[in-house]
Amino acid sequence: MYDAGKIMTGLVVFLVILTLPFWYSGAMGKGGARPEVKLPEGEKKCVESKEYMRDSHMDLLNQWRDAVVREGKHTYVSEGGARHEMSLTNSCMKCHADRAQFCDRCHVYLSLNPFCWDCHLDRKQTGQGAK
């Protein structure tokens, strides 16, 4: 074999980098288990079904933002006919009060950094109640 040293070094480096997922998390000491979110105690029903909220809450929030900011509409009527104020701070966070215990659990797990918090405040952080 010609240049065996160079080729084998290259091959080993390639394989070590490629198999990074197999050793990285173990080396960092994390199991990667499904994160647990803290569900509100009083309320059992969210605005829409659990599955819809889990998969598509960002769509809903995006629609709410457009409706409130661009069209001045403030009331959302859900599939079941319930009426809600379209507000992250006043509706969502009335039940899911603690961002760190709820929103961030999955977002951090998936390395997501939604831009909600560019404008919205986290009540826990600021120490102020909803208006």
């Binding site: 074999m1 010609y2 091959l11 997922p21 998390s25 960092m28 889990r54 390395s111």
Partner: protein, 330 residues
């Protein structure tokens, strides 16, 4: 035929993923067994192909030389296009691998009125290839967010940068659009340029359709068919920590995406996609042109039996002396 077969092969894969997961509920097969098998095939196959290539004899330097060779000091040599040392070779290889320099030099030949033959630059293929490869690399790296816990900062930053324009929620990734555009160009070029169409084989179309399928299902899963993304990461983390688990509530389209990726991984070492490893082993690129500076001995030359003059004289000294011939040694 060369187009039709790969197209239907990819459609069949999509259908197999749908039927296998939605109808037959073979989630463990599609989510765990096949991915593991594909990774094993990839690593084994990749090593096998590289070792096979490494075993090829390289008795002499055969670089393609496109510039002045190194000779006398007062003649300027072209260090990139006719490298004579390792430094030049590394620079040449880096430009080749990072910027596809030899593709950049692609030319087209046309007959203009006159009639005259005209040569000109043809950079579309180079631009599309560069756009495709860098998009794919970015997409590959940003998918590491599903396979690592905690997610490395670099992967997080890449995701942020890719979604920089903040169009929609979740943000549209720039690379999603670029890769689909580039793949579209690379496919249409094969379909509509007569010369390219003539030389295109099923093995050229299959990876194109497969990667279009992967990118397409990926975009669908991100923006249109939402699924439990936490469950997706749970599955991925189960795979890489060797504690496979099948989460509930993951859409069948995700398993189609996964099956297409699994196919790509398993197909990779046996296809033209091996240019990923092969580009490093191109003897016309990675050898320094020092044919005249260094003596290259063919390594498989056998030992040659020689009979030197000294030995000849030893054999016949007495007879030579008797015949009056001059001898070196008395």
């Amino acid at each position: 035929m060369n187009v039709v077969l790969p197209f239907f092969a990819v459609l069949a894969l999509i259908l197999a993923g749908y039927v296998g997961v939605k109808v037959l509920d073979l989630k463990f097969l599609f989510g765990v067994l096949l991915p593991y098998a594909a990774i094993a095939v990839f690593i084994g196959g990749f090593v096998y192909r590289i070792v096979r290539w490494a075993k090829s004899p390289v008795p002499f330097r055969i670089p393609t030389t496109c510039g002045q060779q190194k000779s006398l000091d007062w003649i300027e040599s072209d260090r990139l296009d006719n490298p004579h040392d390792t430094k030049g070779v590394i620079a040449r290889m880096a430009l080749e691998i990072l910027f596809f320099r030899s593709l950049f030099r692609n030319t087209k030949t046309e007959i203009k009125d006159g009639p005259k033959v005209v040569y000109g630059p043809n950079l579309w293929l180079w631009a599309a290839a560069l756009a495709f490869h860098y998009s794919f690399l970015t997409i590959f790296v940003r998918h590491l967010r599903f396979f690592t816990e905690p997610v490395p900062m670099l992967v997080g930053l890449l995701n942020e940068a890719d979604g920089f324009f903040q169009v929609g929620v979740p943000p549209v990734m720039v690379t999603s659009l670029v890769i689909l555009g580039a793949l579209g160009f690379l496919l249409l070029r094969r379909l509509f340029t007569p010369q390219i169409r003539y030389i295109s084989l099923a093995a050229d179309y299959f990876p194109l359709f497969l990667i279009i399928g992967i990118a397409g299902t990926g975009v669908l899963l991100r923006h249109f068919v939402r699924t439990d993304i936490v469950g997706v990461k749970e599955l991925a983390m189960g795979l890489v920590s060797f504690k496979p688990a099948i989460p509930q509530g993951v859409h069948w389209l995700f398993y189609v995406h996964l099956l297409l990726v699994t196919t790509l991984i398993a197909y990779f070492p046996w296809s033209k996609l091996m240019h990923m490893g092969g580009v490093f082993l191109s003897p016309t690129r990675n050898l320094a042109n020092n044919n005249r500076m260094v003596r290259h001995v063919n390594p498989w030359n056998g030992p040659v039996k020689v009979h030197t003059y000294e030995e000849y004289e030893d054999d016949f000294r007495e007879k030579m002396k008797a015949a009056g011939l001059p001898v070196d040694k008395e």
